[in-house]
């Protein structure tokens, strides 16, 4: 099962709502970091990897040795431009890298090459489809490029966390990985909305083919700026909520922080502007006051990199290379196949599943039946087995063949489910399974008629009773035909044929 489908199922199952907000309204903006799946790092030729032995993909440049210089990864710029365009951003003709200066052991140069007042893209929007089918437009303030830091491993302590650790090790494999940072407007007001936004952003980026967007592996990371207020009042003091590495933790973290802020305000206290961390184990947020709090990053233009000038031609070429985006696909699925908004949303956010559906619908010519199967039995199977749709043993063509048997009346719906199960187990095609198990309905009128005639002739007594008006006797004959055909006779046809032969002239 794909992650999107899993997430969607879990959200619809739990249908959580944030706790009682007692007339308070939350204001939420998100900052999302996405690792780009380029072959090499943002500013050097080292391979981008995950899970390799520490410090095996490093060089003087990404280790910040004296004298080294960065060189911009062209592919990363293209990927970032894809994201910015897909979010409807305006691409700056001239975009500039800045240095963000701060000391930390995972940051080898003691500055991060990032962007500041001239980011790659500004002023975009993502239309987020909510559970109830309404659409929430979320403004995208900016999309910019930067490099990732290395990874600290805190050793010797019991918790693996920085406090209590005996020492820390640094793994620079991740250092210099290309990142795109997306900053939203504070357009969300509930944890549900934030989660829906992030899920839909995730599937959008995934469909662009520029990132793995895997929250567990850290290729998709999300921080939130949160404040609460009485509706209509000015914004309250915000906090920055960090460390939410799953959709569930984003939801729970926001819920906990909103609750904390409301409780503070109701107790007559103030919300302090600070960074708070969500602790999933405790289900609580904790504040981490440290001397690193008051950062002045001393941004200034990176003198080692000339500004990037992206001309209209370049931007246009990237724009036309974009695949159909989820919002457009959602609309098209509704129009073209008559799907419900919910069905369209599930499919549009899952490109492989949606491609699968369209292939089945086209092959069978019956969109409704195809949608029922793809979102029903197929999705249930994928969910239960954890198999990705692309790797599903039942291909779209195979499912279409099965549905074809249903549509032509060879299989009943119930039998088709049985065959489908066998297909998932064996990977064989529907026709083979039907033939082997002798499952096909007998719909051949001539074949059935011969059987019906034989049975009517063999039971003159009940036949006579029927002719005299005892309709109940028909059931006896149906049972006999079914027995003879081992249940494979098309029931409708059997009924028709029996009536014909029972009411016909008695044998001379």
């Amino acid at each position: 099962m794909t992650d999107e489908a899993r997430s969607l199922t879990s959200s619809s199952r739990s249908s959580e709502t944030a706790g009682d907000t007692r007339g308070w309204e939350a204001v939420i903006g998100l900052e999302i970091h996405i690792q780009l799946s380029t072959r090499t790092k943002m500013f050097c030729g080292c391979q981008v990897t995950f899970g390799e032995p520490p410090n095996t993909h490093v060089c003087p440049v990404c280790l910040g040795h004296p004298g080294v210089l960065p060189v911009i990864n062209e592919k990363a710029v293209e990927y970032a431009t894809r994201i910015a365009l897909a979010l409807g951003c305006r691409i700056s003709e001239r975009t500039v890298f800045h240095r963000k200066n701060y000391f930390y052991p995972d940051l080898p140069k003691a500055y991060q090459i990032s962007q500041y007042d001239l980011p790659l893209g500004v002023g975009g929007r993502l239309e987020v489809e909510l559970e109830d089918g309404t659409v929430l437009p979320v403004g995208i303030t900016r999309v910019h490029m930067e490099e990732d830091a290395g990874k600290l491993i805190h050793a010797g302590g019991a918790t693996g966390r920085i406090d209590g650790a005996d020492y820390s090790l640094v793994d620079f494999n991740r250092g210099g990985t290309p990142l795109v940072e997306i900053v939203t407007e504070p357009d969300m007001s509930t944890p549900e909305q934030a989660r829906a936004f992030l899920m839909q952003l995730r599937s959008l980026v995934q469909q662009l083919g520029v990132s793995d967007v895997n929250m567990e592996e850290g290729s998709l990371r999300c921080d939130a700026n949160v404040s609460v207020r009485r509706p209509g009042e000015p914004f309250g003091t915000k906090t920055e909520l960090k460390n939410m590495n799953s959709f569930r933790f984003l939801y729970r973290g926001l819920e906990a922080e909103i609750e904390r802020q409301i409780a503070l305000l109701e107790a007559g206290e103030r919300v302090v502007q600070e960074t708070v961390h969500f602790d999933p184990a405790a289900g609580r947020v904790s504040t981490l006051r440290s001397k690193e709090e008051a950062h002045d990053y001393r941004y200034f233009p990176e003198p080692d990199l000339p500004p990037i000038e992206l001309d209209e031609g370049y931007v246009e070429r990237v724009r036309v290379s974009l695949p159909e985006l989820p919002a457009a696909r959602r609309e098209r699925l509704k129009q073209q196949y008559g799907l419900t908004p919910k069905e369209a949303a599930i499919l549009a956010d899952n490109r492989p599943l949606s491609d699968y559906f369209e292939a089945v619908a086209k092959a069978t010519g019956d969109a409704r039946l195809s949608a029922n199967w793809v979102l029903g039995d197929l999705s249930a199977y994928l969910n239960a087995s954890g198999v990705e749709v692309d790797a599903c043993p039942v291909t779209a063509a195979a499912l279409a063949e099965l549905l074809g048997l249903v549509l032509e009346g060879t299989l009943s719906g119930k039998m088709a489910k049985e065959v489908f199960e066998a297909m998932t187990e064996s990977g064989r095609c529907a026709k083979d399974i039907v033939a082997e198990k002798g499952l096909g309905q007998i719909s051949d009128a001539a074949e059935l008629e011969a059987i019906v005639v034989r049975i009517v002739e063999a039971n003159p007594g009940p036949a006579e009773e029927y002719r005299q008006g005892r309709d109940r006797v028909l059931a006896f004959f149906v049972g006999q035909v079914m027995k003879e055909t081992r249940g494979q006779a098309n029931p409708q046809l059997v009924n028709e044929l029996l009536r014909k032969h029972l009411t016909g002239p008695a044998k001379p």
Binding site: H65, G67, K291, P303, L305
Partner: protein, 496 residues
């Protein structure tokens, strides 16, 4: 040991090797010998790579002569700010003591491929911050013309080394005058190329938007040759573009109709009389070659030093932040936590001038001050660029003294940073504008060398070197200091 290397140029070394008059090993040995005799007093070298140089020389000698490149076997010495793979590179700072780069700077790789032999690494002001080489954490280099005086800086080791014939030529770097000013004070030629002509990859960054690598040589022809060896666009340096064409050998002997603008702001009161006199005779020499000199005012250059001392420290504060004790170089032996490790490592590792500039730069980039300082300095820089380009509409070259004074006494300016900063009055605006400039020996004042600075438009190195060559021939200045062998006793080093 028969070979006397005194006064040898890179070109002459090439001739001797090509003609088979000397082997690479003999040549290297002769220089090592010279270093062992002279450097105890001049103290130009931080590191002499005797073993590496002799091995490289033996490898050259093992090749048949007709299979060698033209420059194979010619020795050179390097400012210790250029990364040399496997050879300690310190920037004359305690914080990099023991640091052995895992890679070669692009200019080093180019010279290595061309077969030049590295004699060693040369002293400098720590991280190139200074104008006298007195800011070295390790030793004080002396001016070969007067051992009581500074060689200038920050490439003081390079200039002194070439002047004292401890190498035929050397590489230096120039951020605000760090090649030209010591060249002037030591009576050698120093060229700062156009920003972008030479790769900065592997040059330990001081101020990224100003730094350039360049040659310090005994004559203009050597400067041209060495420039061609190191110039070129480098895919590892996005700010590099190379030169439009190789400069080739400068051959110009007349300056008929060439227009020289004398920068009015640099020949006034701040310039000492002896320097003004030499400069005046250089102007006469230009006239005698058919050139035309005329005064020109570039009003904004007077704010060059002020703008420079915001821009350069700002960039430096960021560039030097990586020396944090985490991955290489010095790390304090006593620290209870990360924060203390940072503070102690950097407090112990950096000298006072470096600390001063890091603090100035950190301040200038801080929120609330950025617009008043860094941004304002950048606007001034724009004005300086404009003034120069307007001047180049009327003149082929601009000229001035390279330094307002001759070499000053050791310790004379160490207590007064502002006086020290003013040593680079005439050279700093050129870096801010990214222009190429050369300093050539123009004569002497009270027995000490005086340099003439010629500035050209962007990427005009070929023409600039041609004009400098013509003038050099006419001026015919002596470039071998009467460095007396033994007697001089070395005075105790003044502690900074």
């Amino acid at each position: 040991m028969g070979l006397d290397v005194t006064g040898l140029t890179g070109w002459r070394c090439r001739e001797l090797l090509t003609a088979g008059e000397v082997s690479a090993t003999e040549l290297v040995q002769a220089y090592l010998e010279r270093i062992s005799v002279v450097d105890a007093r001049v103290q130009a070298y931080l590191l002499v790579d005797e073993e590496g140089a002799l091995a490289a020389a033996a490898a050259v000698d093992a090749k048949p002569r007709d299979a060698r490149g033209p420059w194979e076997g010619v020795p050179i010495a390097l400012k210790d700010i250029l990364c040399t793979k496997g050879l300690e590179t310190t920037c004359a700072s305690r914080i990099l003591k023991g640091y052995i780069p895992p890679y070669d700077a692009t200019v080093i790789a180019k010279l290595r491929r061309a077969g030049l032999i590295f004699l060693g690494k040369l002293n400098m002001d720590e991280f190139a911050m200074g104008s006298s080489t007195e800011n070295s954490a390790f030793q004080t280099t002396r001016n070969p013309w007067d051992l009581e005086r500074v060689p200038g800086g920050s490439s003081g080791g390079s200039a002194a080394c070439v002047a004292a014939s401890e190498a035929p030529w050397a590489l230096g770097t120039d951020t605000g005058g760090s090649i030209r000013q010591p060249a002037s004070l030591c009576g050698v030629v120093g060229l700062k190329p156009t920003y972008g002509a030479v790769s900065r990859y592997g040059l330990v960054a001081f101020a990224s938007s100003l730094d350039q690598v360049g040659p310090l040589t005994r004559d203009v022809r050597d400067a041209a040759v060495l420039l061609d060896l190191i110039a070129g666009r480098d895919p590892r340096d996005s700010t590099s573009v190379g030169l439009p064409e190789p400069v080739g050998l400068p051959e110009r002997s007349a300056l008929e109709g060439v227009r020289f603008g004398v920068i009015k702001e640099f020949i006034g009161e701040t310039c000492e009389a002896g320097v003004r006199d030499v400069f005046a005779s250089a102007v006469d020499a230009i006239g005698s070659l058919g050139g035309v000199c005329e005064e020109v005012s570039l009003p904004s250059v007077e704010r060059g030093v002020a703008a420079y001392y915001l821009i350069a420290p700002s960039e430096a504060s960021s560039n030097l932040a990586r020396f944090d004790g985490v991955r290489y170089g010095h790390r304090t032996s006593q620290a209870a936590d990360l924060y203390e490790m940072y503070v102690r490592t950097r407090s112990e590792g950096f000298g006072p001038e470096v600390k001063r500039r890091i603090m100035i730069g950190t301040y200038a980039l801080s929120a609330g001050y950025y617009d008043a300082y860094y941004a304002q300095a950048q606007r001034t820089r724009t004005l300086i660029i404009r003034d120069f380009s307007q001047a180049f509409e009327r003149f082929d070259f601009l000229i001035s003294p390279t330094s307002p004074t001759v070499a000053f006494r050791l310790g004379e300016r160490t207590a007064d940073p502002l006086a020290m900063y003013l040593s680079d009055l005439c050279t700093i605006p050129v870096n801010l504008a990214g222009l190429p400039a050369i300093s050539i020996p123009a004569g002497f004042s009270a027995g000490l060398p005086v340099g003439l600075q010629l500035v050209g438009p962007h990427f005009s190195e070929k023409e600039l070197l041609g004009a400098a060559h013509a003038l050099e021939q006419r001026l015919a200045v002596e470039t071998v200091p009467p460095l007396t062998v033994p007697p001089l006793t070395v005075p105790p080093l003044s502690e900074v």
